[in-house]
Structure formats: structure tokens, C-alpha cells
């Protein structure tokens, strides 16, 4: 079906992106990360390669999506042992590919799986790994990556002195774009003596009952922070979201307080949103949060503090008690 290529003959020096494939389904985050990586690859005059580890070629449900992607080439490693996510085996396979193809960069989406695998691979290769990158650019032939730092209102630009350059890329930070040409498809053939063994055995899988949140692609986002004072008030955001056809987002502190699940965290270590309308209730706007929503088209802030960063960023800011405003708003909308 695809061109078969021995691992030792892989083209060298390219940009590799890990394609997340779980139980026959492609995770869209793998297509998102191709958008910034394509620009990086072009600036460095390198090819962009999307890499999949899968159990069998018949398993690919999303082949059409993959064919439309920005990748110049798509590489598949196919082995029945790769059907389940086995962190140690996956690491070994990825490390072998890196050793043979000496890529310039290797990138993962910052999904739970990406964040489990990337550090193992970085450890195996003894190279640096940047986390939750939401910006990548090439300057003086070097990849510059950035993320906000903790406790300061600054963005740090980072480089990696080791090779390949490695990073996990923030979810939702980039839009999926499609390529002009169908990528070349290749199946990588591993040596006969490669061991496909793992110390992990997946015994059972219980699918999540919750639907994955559609936060990163939501057109309208209503988001809450500490200014809502308690979990009960925060939960009212779901009523508002229902009325407005919105998704609910949150700041880091309220996720840590347990007011809402971490999947709804907007910001550096959470999701990046780009809705048409973003409404923040009781959110002052720490950089940790604002990097995840600053590209919203129209921002409404509801906060007591006139000098809060989110109030300044907003197209419309209402200075008042977020809790009272939310409650009265709901009352009026329902009547």
C-alpha cells in the first residue's frame, strides 16, 4: 500500500511530529501542531514528517484527513505490538527512528499521551525538552520556542542546545491547516532483530463517559475565576453556557480548588481558545491564563478590579461583583 523503507535509509535532518493515534482514531492535536511546524520546516528548508505508530494499516480510519495534512511525508511504523499504548516500547521505537534519521526536531502534542512519551524519549536520548510551547519561530537558523514563566508577567523564549530540538506543543494553540499536495506515505521497516517486547500489558480499557470538551474549538466561551467565590456559583456558568451555546472554561486556581475538572483549564498548561466571544467572570487575567485566550475576537471581562489585566485587555469591561452579575444575568435570561 505504501512505499516500504528500511529504517537505515530514512532521510535525515527533518522535522518530525508525533501523530497520536489511539484505538484507531487520530487525535486532531497531531494535525494542529503541523501548522507552526510547517513554517519552521520551511524556514529551515527541511521536510515536515508526521509519524504514526500503529497496530495495523487496516486500523487507520482517518486516512483522508492524514492525506490532506500539511506534512510532506507521513511515516508509519506498523506492528501488532503497537496496537496498545506501551510507553516503554513506543519510546524504544521513537528513539530508534531518531538515531537512524537524525531529525532536526521532534515534537509532540501536549496531550496526556504526548506528555507521557516525550519525556521518556528525551530521557532516552539525553536531550532537552520544552513544555507547553505556544509559539515557535526560526531565528538565525535556530528554533526559538516560548512560554510564559511562573510568577512573572513575562514570556520566556527558549532554545534547546541539544539535538534533536524537542518540545510538547500546547493544545488548541494552533489551527489545523491543510496542505496543497498529498504527502508521501512510507512504511518504516525495522530490523529483524528489533525487540517489540514491553513490560506493560494493557488489560482493560474503560472509555470515558464524559464527552471530550469542545473548548479549544468553541465559538463562545464563558470562563470563571476566583472572583466567583465558590464552586456553587462557578457551576452556574454551565447554565449560562447552555443558554448561549457556549463552552465553560476556567483559570488554573479554580481547577486546583476542584471547582471544575482540569480539562477546562484555559492557559499555558491547559487549553488555548480562540472564540468569537470570550466572557470572563471574576478573572483578573494572570499571564498563565491570558496566553490561552488573548486571541479571542471579542473579550468581555467582569471584575471588581479596574486595573486587572483582563479588564485592560477586554473590548468591554464591567466593573462589579462577578457573582452578583452572573446571578442577575441568569435570572433575566431565564425570565
Amino acid at each position: 500500500m505504501f512505499e516500504r523503507i528500511n529504517i537505515e535509509n530514512l532521510p535525515k535532518g527533518n522535522i518530525l511530529a508525533f501523530g497520536e493515534f489511539y484505538r484507531n482514531e487520530l487525535n486532531n492535536s497531531s494535525l494542529e501542531i503541523l501548522s507552526p511546524l510547517k513554517e519552521v520546516a520551511q524556514a529551515l528548508n527541511k521536510k515536515l514528517i508526521l509519524l504514526f505508530l500503529i497496530g495495523s494499516l487496516e486500523d487507520i480510519k482517518n486516512l483522508e484527513e492524514i492525506k490532506k495534512s500539511l506534512a510532506d511525508e507521513v511515516w508509519f511504523v506498523v506492528n501488532n505490538e503497537l496496537k496498545d499504548l506501551k510507553d516503554d516500547l513506543y519510546t524504544e521505537v521513537l528513539a530508534q527512528i531518531v538515531k537512524s534519521s537524525q531529525p532536526y526536531g521532534l515534537f509532540f502534542p501536549a496531550t496526556k499521551i504526548g506528555m507521557s512519551l516525550a519525556p521518556r524519549v528525551a530521557g532516552a536520548l539525553k536531550v532537552g525538552l520544552c513544555a507547553h510551547v505556544n509559539y515557535l519561530k526560526v531565528k538565525d537558523n535556530q528554533i526559538i520556542m516560548s512560554r510564559p514563566t511562573y510568577g512573572e508577567n513575562i514570556i520566556a523564549k527558549l532554545v534547546s542546545k541539544s539535538s534533536p530540538v524537542m518540545a510538547t506543543i500546547s493544545l488548541g494553540a494552533f489551527n489545523i491547516k491543510y496542505g496543497e499536495r498529498e504527502p508521501l506515505m512510507k512504511e518504516i521497516i525495522f530490523p529483524e532483530n528489533f525487540s517489540w517486547s514491553s513490560k506493560l500489558k494493557i488489560r482493560n480499557f474503560i472509555p470515558s463517559k464524559k464527552k471530550l470538551t469542545k473548548l479549544s474549538t468553541a465559538k463562545i466561551v464563558v470562563s470563571g475565576g476566583r472572583g466567583l467565590k465558590n464552586k456553587e456559583t462557578f457551576q452556574k456558568l454551565f447554565e449560562l453556557a447552555e443558554i448561549l451555546g457556549a463552552e465553560v472554561g476556567a483559570t488554573r486556581p479554580v481547577c486546583y480548588e476542584g471547582w471544575v475538572e482540569e480539562e477546562r483549564m484555559i492557559g499555558v498548561s491547559g487549553v488555548t481558545v480562540k472564540p468569537k466571544i470570550y466572557i470572563g467572570f471574576g478573572i483578573s487575567g494572570a499571564l498563565q491564563h491570558t496566553v490561552g485566550m488573548e486571541n479571542s475576537e471579542f473579550i468581555i471581562a467582569v471584575n471588581t478590579d479596574k486595573d486587572a489585566p483582563l479588564v485592560k485587555m477586554a473590548n468591554l469591561a464591567l466593573i462589579g461583583d462577578a457573582r452578583k452579575i452572573l446571578e442577575l444575568l441568569l435570572k433575566k435570561l431565564k425570565s
Binding site: P119, R120, G123, A131, L200, I202, S208, T290, L328
Partner: protein, 264 residues
């Protein structure tokens, strides 16, 4: 079964953050440090396993001497031995350099059956150190683990991924990062052990005690480097309205109608 090791981290009390203006690394030695909140479930899981299997539990923390109270807190929860990994040379370590130090300390504690860590620290938030340490030790790792027990000499873990939960069987030893929501109840420290630990001090291991390669430590041993920082300046760009709740809500409804989010 051999001993269990739990790694904990001191993170700045929110609001007390001090940053080195040149390197932009946190100045942990001059800050009030609290136990990383995500390490609490890791400690809880460690203490439960220790009690279930009646086995030695060792806590390690890498950091300046002001993390000692956190190790003592771990002791009061049920940890048997406290180890502080502390050396000026460790300052500014990125995740690879940190994982290197932890992995070497864990090797020195061999044999062991399990290493537990919190999912991620609330300061760095990378979540990289647990799998990276496991990789350097060349043993398996699982992240976001919500339950763990031993059966027929193998670990059985439930890990969370975006799509659901997987039950995984692992031939140990193993490194796990524990899900922040693994436990509804987290025990408080025991009063008896709090008194007991007053007269105890952790064992301190420096770079020399672990025969570490100085080229792999601290800021200069870290492959990821900050090259530039940009201050985010925010300028007021929109309309700021003050007034009574009633007025503000009316305005909000007006805008929502304008944007066609609600009908007239």
C-alpha cells in the same frame, strides 16, 4: 517486595515568588516553600501502599535546605526515611538535569519496587520529571495513575488518558505520576510522628555523594536555555463601565443581543 520511594517538591507559596533577574530561574532558597499540592496524592498513595504491604517508605526531595520541613511533614504522614538532595550545583536545573539527579539518588537506594511522584509541580507544570526519571533508570513509567496495587508480583495500575481509563499490568520496578484527583480523602499528619520527627533530620546527599557528572548539573548542564524574556505590556483597549449591577447586566444583555447570542 522492595522499598517504595516517593519524590516531593517544594514550590513557592503563591505570592512569594522571587526570580533571578538574569537567568529567570526561581530563587527557591529565598522563598517560602510549600509542599507541591499535586504531591499530596502521591504521598497518600505511598503511605497506603506502605501500610498494605508493610514495606519501607523513603521520601526524597531535591532542593535547598528550606525543603526540610516538607520532608518532615512527609515523615509525619508515615515516611520512614527522609533524604534531601541539596547542592548549589543543582540550582537552575531543567527537567533533564533534575531527572538525572533523582535517577542517580534512586539508583543509590536500590533495590526498590516503586517510585511515586506528583503529576506535575504547580510552578514548572511540565509533568516531565516522572517519565524522564524512569527513562534514565531504564524502567517503565505510567502517568496520571489513580489506583495501584500488586497482584502475583506485578503492579496493576489504572491510568487516566483523554479517552478514558486503562488498566495496565507492569513488571516492576515502576515509576508512576499520581493523578491529582486520585483520592477523595488525604490523611493529615500523625501527631505522634510530628513529635517524633522534631528530633530527626534528613540524610543529605550532595553531588559528590552521588558521584554526579558536574557537566550535567544545574543551569549549565541543562540543554534548554532561556535566551530572551519579553514583558507583556497590556494597554487598555476597550470600554470600561462602572455602575450598579442592574445597569451592568442590562449592558451585557444588550451586547449579547448585538452579537446574536440571544434573541431579542
Amino acid at each position: 517486595m522492595e522499598k517504595i520511594i516517593v519524590c516531593i517538591k517544594g514550590v513557592p507559596e503563591p505570592g512569594s515568588v522571587k526570580v533571578d533577574p538574569e537567568t529567570h530561574a526561581l530563587k527557591r532558597e529565598s522563598m517560602e516553600l510549600i509542599l507541591n499540592p499535586n504531591d499530596r496524592p502521591a504521598l497518600e498513595m505511598a503511605v497506603r501502599l506502605k501500610n498494605d504491604y508493610n514495606i519501607e517508605l523513603v521520601a526524597i526531595s531535591m532542593g535547598p535546605p528550606n525543603v526540610i520541613p516538607l520532608l518532615k511533614h512527609a515523615y509525619a504522614l508515615g515516611v520512614d526515611q527522609m533524604i534531601l538532595l541539596s547542592d548549589r550545583a543543582f540550582a537552575g536545573s531543567d527537567t533533564l538535569a533534575t531527572s538525572y539527579v533523582l535517577a542517580e539518588a534512586i539508583k543509590k537506594l536500590s533495590p526498590f519496587s516503586l517510585v511515586l511522584m506528583g503529576l506535575k509541580s504547580i510552578d514548572g507544570e511540565t509533568a516531565q520529571v516522572p517519565p524522564e526519571t524512569a527513562s534514565l533508570l531504564d524502567i517503565p513509567s505510567l502517568t496520571n495513575v489513580k489506583s495501584l496495587f500488586m497482584k502475583d508480583n506485578k503492579w496493576i495500575a489504572i491510568r487516566e488518558i483523554e479517552y478514558g481509563e486503562e488498566e495496565v499490568e507492569v513488571e516492576g520496578p515502576l515509576v508512576c505520576s499520581v493523578s491529582p484527583t486520585a483520592f477523595e480523602y488525604i490523611r493529615p499528619p500523625s501527631l505522634k510522628r510530628l513529635l517524633e520527627v522534631k528530633n530527626k533530620e534528613p540524610i543529605v546527599w550532595q553531588a559528590g555523594d552521588l558521584n554526579l557528572d558536574s557537566q550535567k548539573l544545574g543551569l549549565k548542564g541543562s540543554p534548554t536555555q532561556v535566551v530572551e524574556v519579553i514583558e507583556k505590556k497590556i494597554e487598555t483597549k476597550g470600554i470600561i463601565l462602572e455602575g450598579e449591577t442592574e445597569e451592568l447586566v442590562e449592558k451585557l444583555i444588550e451586547v449579547l443581543k448585538e452579537k446574536a447570542l440571544i434573541k431579542n
